[in-house]
């Protein structure tokens, strides 16, 4: 069985949901304090949501210098699965492991409600087992969820098919972005597909009793991407 390291920064608050969801999907998850410097026993890393280091300065700005981030970078470069959810997405952007940044929502309101996203590619650890065009209903829970990037960076993301999820309405139509995200981007991946950042919370939509199990396919994709760690 492949183990997943779930990073815990001071201020992280979605780690138990991630551990629960991964456990449900057959992966073993270990909570790992942000000062840890050796994750060689893990097959993949998840940076969960919350307010790492109080979100002081900028979301993710302090967290990117936490000791554990050296391991996150090593995994990213080595092609091993790394997933950032919400605040974790912000941290990956600040660390330069994903392009762009996440800023305050267009309407300056915290958004906490289910949104619909459409799968744009299967070329990422988040969507490997999903179907392109599938519409998923997943909770969004953020104030700084508004994805921005310089125009040439956005062009590059689009041209290389690295937009993973896009906000749509329940029919899958492109009617607008709940938070103002450029190109209605809800999730992106790096050039090699092993590092993904997603703003809505798939771990909060893994059972019907939660109102939706649509997040399952995303985390199943991540779990399926884990390669056993050589002893």
């Amino acid at each position: 069985m492949s183990r997943v390291a779930v990073a815990l920064f001071p201020g992280t608050n979605c780690e138990q949901d991630v551990v629960y969801a991964l456990d449900l999907l057959g992966a073993e998850a270990d909570l790992v304090w942000h000062r840890e410097t050796d994750l060689s026993g893990a097959a993949g890393i998840v940076l969960p949501g919350g307010f790492a280091h109080g979100d002081y300065l900028r979301t993710g700005a302090i967290a990117r210098f936490s000791p554990i981030m050296q391991e996150v970078e090593r995994f990213a470069v080595a092609g091993r699965p790394v997933l950032g959810i919400c605040n974790g997405f912000q941290i990956l952007c600040e660390a330069g492991l994903l392009p762009g940044a996440l800023v305050a929502n267009r309407d300056l309101r915290f958004i906490c409600r289910p949104v619909h996203v459409r799968v744009e590619t299967t070329g990422s650890v988040l969507t490997r087992h999903a179907e392109v065009g599938a519409v998923l209903r997943i909770p969004l829970n953020s104030y700084e969820g508004n994805y921005v990037a310089p125009p040439q960076e956005l062009d590059s993301l689009e041209r290389t098919g690295r937009v993973v999820l896009r906000y749509v309405d329940e029919r899958g139509e492109a009617t607008g972005s709940p938070n103002g995200s450029a190109n209605r981007i809800a999730a992106i991946t790096n050039a090699t597909g092993n590092v993904a950042g997603v703003m809505p919370h798939p771990e909060r939509a893994v059972e019907d009793v939660l109102g939706s199990a649509d997040g399952r396919v995303l985390l199943e994709s991540f779990v399926a991407s884990l390669q056993p760690v050589p002893a």
Binding site: L57, G100, L108, P150
Partner: protein, 80 residues
Amino acid sequence: MRFLVSISRRDGLADPEGATTARALRDLGYDEVGDVHFGRTILVEVSGDDVDTARSRIDEMCRRLLANPVIEDFTIEALP
């Protein structure tokens, strides 16, 4: 020595606080208002007596931590 670092969103990138505030100012009758850019200022106190060295160190601090060069510009002003 004291330096005032001013950080603002780069031109052309979404600045929801700035856009909302610009609208509010125009609603108040200030028709001359164009774009409004939000940012933050950080007062940094450092030891040493060489202004150029201090300034170049603070420039590095801005690039590494205080600003996000992907979306923000910054200026550094030495205070008396």
